[in-house]
Amino acid sequence: MMNIDQRPCESQRGGFSFENSRRNAMLEENLSKLGYSAPKARKTGTTIAGIMYKDGVILGADTRATDDMVVADKNCMKIHYIAPNIYCCGAGVAADAEITTQMMASNVELHSLSTGRPPMVVTVTRQLKQLLFRYQGHIGSSLIVGGVDATGTHLYSIYPHGSTDKLPYLTMGAALHSVFSLSLSTDRSGAAAAMSVFEDRYKPNMELKEAKTLVRDAIAAGIFCDLGSGSNVDLCVITKAGVEYLRGYDQPAQKGRKQGEYKYKPGTTAVLTKTVTPLSLDLVEEAVHLMDTK
């Protein structure tokens, strides 16, 4: 894309061509006229969050993956490993977030072997933002990268187009719909709900217990207030000493239990009349197949 040698008037030789995305959109338009629809990329709906506390960072995520309005995975893992001291929450298109983070994990390990130093959060962030910018937003993954390295504790958010923010507390959701859409809260997914919890209760240098509760509450807000987020809360606590991955830390939305017995006793409904009509059938063939139930 950023090819220094090209002139504006020349047709693009190297770099990426995004002609296919326009073609795909036209194909989808034509298909929908015939009544079919192209398979949609599965999004993770999602509420993800991260905070910096006294000893490090805590990353949090819900565990619901949606296919339009159907829950595709009730317990997916949105907190991905990048390096022993760096983890990354991914929102947006599930495949994009998954593959991007896996690629980063490989690159970071190779880079770390090459430099002979443990990896730094800022390295991961820079590689991710340059990758996403190169693809001009077509890789639909929004990420929160957090970790503790030799220079300290860091927390970054990365948007699909490649912009980054460095803040003490962050939330992200799936990629936004058009700004002209009316229902902004569902489009923004759980991020706004989680951010409201942070803006109310975040303090710098919190203790571990308080910080974990805060992240759990923020994700829970996303789970309750957003259709695209649900199921459990996963946490990941990263400190200089190590990482504590708390899968299924909390299950705020339990399946409802029936309050009473809803079966009726036989005889509840009175029988007024009874008519029996026998059907005359001839047995033609009888065959017995044994089922292998071992």
Binding site: M1, M2, I4, Q6, P8, F18, S21, R22, N24, A25, M26, E29, G92, V93, R126, K129, Q130, L132, F133, Q136, G137, H138, G140, S157, Y159, P160, H161, G162, S163, T164, D165, L167, A175, L176, H177, S178, V179, F180, L184, R188, A191, A192
Partner: protein, 231 residues
């Protein structure tokens, strides 16, 4: 030379259209008001701190004053991703150039590097940048590189979506030969007025003074901004 459009669905001539999938359309925009003023001995630059994705404020304490070199800064407006990528690329190029020269680089060189990139990729980028700094040859300088890739030196320059609201204030209140303190007050007042009227600008006001001696950064919180008439 219009100020950058705040709305995320904003207009590229060739790429984005109704046919592109919606998740590719959402860009983080720096909405923005940015400003830079020359004075004798240096420059004063300022920016608001709001970054939006649509109607949601993604970052309310953004730092849009990005160091390119020791005495050269750029003020970013437009798409956050585009301006961050351009600033990173120019920082690298300028750093390399400065090592080759074995001298601090000229502000005009930095501005030209921005212009090259912004003009060459004008169809693909949404970036309005003000380059400001101090060098030994020409002292304090402000160069503006708006969307489209023009480059022009101005004693005072405003940019971003909020700039439209303060052209009148700037034109009527700027005098040449202002001191550093007068420039700081001028920039703070202009930013305040723009932030009051522009929905995509707000948060805190970040200021910086760049002189031969070095760099001085200030933050003015929302309640400490200068007070004007409000209906």
């Amino acid at each position: 030379m219009a100020a950058s459009v705040a709305v995320a669905g904003a207009q590229h001539l060739s790429s984005v259209s109704d046919l592109v999938p919606d998740w590719a359309r959402q860009e983080v925009s720096t909405g923005t008001t940015i400003m830079a003023v020359e004075f004798d001995g240096g420059v004063v630059i300022g920016a608001d701190s709001r970054t939006t994705t649509g109607a949601y404020i993604a970052n309310r304490v953004t730092d849009k004053l990005t160091p390119i070199h020791d005495r050269i800064f750029c003020c970013r407006s437009g798409s956050a991703a585009d301006t961050q990528a351009i600033a990173d690329a120019v920082t690298y190029q300028l750093g390399f150039h400065s090592i080759e020269l074995d001298e601090p680089p000229l502000v005009r060189t930095a501005a030209n590097l921005f212009k090259e990139m912004c003009y060459r990729y004008r169809e693909e980028l949404m970036a309005g940048i003000i380059v400001a700094g101090w060098d030994k040859r020409r002292g304090g300088q402000v160069y503006t590189v708006p969307m489209g890739g023009m480059l022009v030196r101005q004693p005072v320059s405003v940019g971003g979506s909020g700039s439209s609201y303060v052209y009148g204030f700037v034109d009527s209140n700027y005098r040449s030969g202002m001191s550093k303190e007068e420039c700081l007050r001028f920039v703070a007042e202009a930013l305040t007025l723009a932030m009051e009227r522009d929905g995509s600008s707000g948060g805190v006001a970040r200021l910086a003074v760049i002189t031969e001696e070095g760099l001085e950064r200030r933050v003015i919180l929302g309640n400490e901004l200068p007070k004007f008439f409000s209906a």
